[in-house]
Symmetry: C2
Subunit: 275 residues, 2 copies
DNA sequence: GTCATTTTGGAATTTTTATTCCATTCTTGC
DNA sequence: GCAAGAATGGAATAAAAATTCCAAAATGAC
């Protein structure tokens, strides 16, 4: 760190992150500690003091000050300003509103809604944190090559499989929704070259497991969306995607499952149309 | 405000809100301004200074200090501490993770997922902010008195109506899902004493509108879940719930719609079982 | 191993921010 | 309309935080 032509401070959190990523490797020990701690806890910058962050990174406050300057800020305060302004963008009083909703008499419809909104949000955040990018890419790979995509998910998972059927149809991708109507199992509709996307959560639906087993035995690739890597569905799957859905009461919000499913569908759509 | 036996400071954001609500009406002008501004922007407390908040409430800083003390804190700093500590976003590094996801090459499945997760979150937050509690209560009222609840929603709304059918079935509430199979419209399955819950978004499904119109003409109450109060579905409805769903690309996340729908179902379930 | 250069830790300083205090202005009961 | 009490605004003070600076330690080139 000899010279460091004072460049303009990052103007957005994204720009900040980019510069941070670019710089981290070039920094000496203490400053790298700062960079890593900041990268890990960037959401605390807005509500912490220099001393607190420095303690967290296990460096003296002056090291953290130097770090801020290297990032292009005049000092810590300028950096903090960026994060304070970005704090809760778009929906400033969401948390207030949510608190009011949840408080509006337990059991009241509004309070219930508050709980489900929160459950959905937690599920989505948790999904973003835990998603296995490789498994997702593998799943896209499998489905983009399939002649017809068979969709199987019953009971609570039926909402997801039916939405996928809608999305795939819209993108003109051949898909078949196995809906269990009349107890026809339609297993013979699955032909060589097809793939199965199966969705089930505990307690696992026997019909879904059976269809996945059948597909597997006949050599068709199976993509699983389920709740755990050790789920019985995963045993039959070539790629397994897990969703950490938060329940409220007896029902789950499905937000995370649907987000994952629709992402998968759109990624497959993009892959097929560019092929 | 003569004497104010110094009581212990609130230990949680909920306790804070309760005390705030209880106190607001007893306060003189300036202090009430503080209370109202704080109630409205409690999420900014963690990242603001006394001067900033005071300016926002249009009072001098000393008034705000007095307000903090009346709330039971030793001063502003102690109050701010409560909010800074409470701000542990459910999953500490969610925002970092999300930023990484979205950055992972546009068009990649992971990047798509990042976008859908964000769209879902925004939808949920927006729903919490905009939900019409009275309309929600009215909808529960209508549905809790119905003999059979008829569910109608096609295309993208079918995921929602089918999930509702699942939830109502689980709660042993008589419900019938109109699925459009074989183009049977099943309108005559709707009997006096029943109610219809219809769901459609632009471009509105003709079948759904037709069924709602029919129910209306026969004097059955109709609850609508749609995207705008001016939607054609709302014209046939006794209660209209609107959902501000955020799209990403051609598809919506459905998170908010499902959260609203399931809340409605559970509230109806609770109302019926306690009746 | 020595010297030049970079990096570091902590004490000293400056700036910002919170907090107190009190003179003045409003209210309200009579 | 007058007094007594409450509420208010702003200047003065105290506290906390950010920032700078420099001597000491570490590193690395020769």
């Amino acid at each position: 760190m000899t010279d460091m032509a004072t460049l303009a401070p990052p103007e957005s959190v994204e720009a900040f992150r980019e510069r941070l990523a670019a710089l981290t490797d070039t920094l000496p020990k203490r400053l790298k500690q700062c960079a890593e701690h900041i990268a890990q806890h960037s959401d605390r910058i807005a509500v912490s003091t220099v001393a607190e962050l420095a303690a967290g990174a296990d460096v003296p406050p002056s090291a953290l000050m130097r770090f801020c300057q290297i990032m292009g800020f005049s000092g810590f305060s300028e950096m903090q300003k960026l994060f304070r302004e970005a704090y809760m963008p778009g929906f400033p009083d969401y948390s207030t509103r949510l608190a009011n909703l949840r408080q509006s008499g337990s059991g009241s419809p509004a309070a219930l809604l508050g709980e489900f909104v929160e459950a959905g949000r937690l599920s989505l955040e948790s999904l973003a944190k835990s998603v296995d990018e490789e498994a997702l890419a593998a799943a896209v790979d499998i489905l983009k090559g399939a002649d017809t995509i068979h969709l199987m998910g019953l009971r609570r998972a039926f909402a997801v499989s039916s939405y996928l059927a809608y999305a795939l149809e819209k993108m003109e991708i051949p898909a078949m929704l196995h809906d269990g109507i009349g107890k026809f199992d339609h297993r013979h509709a699955m032909r060589a070259g097809d793939a199965l996307l199966a969705i089930t959560f505990a307690p696992y639906s026997e019909e879904t497991l059976a269809l996945a087993r059948d597909a597997r035995q006949r050599g068709l690739p199976v993509v699983a969306i389920t709740d755990r890597l050790t789920s019985p569905l995963a045993r039959h799957a070539s790629a397994t995607l897990t969703v950490p859905e938060v329940d409220f009461g007896a029902f789950r919000s499905l937000s995370a499952t649907i987000a994952l499913a629709i992402s998968l569908a759109v990624a497959v759509g993009a892959a097929r149309s560019s092929a």
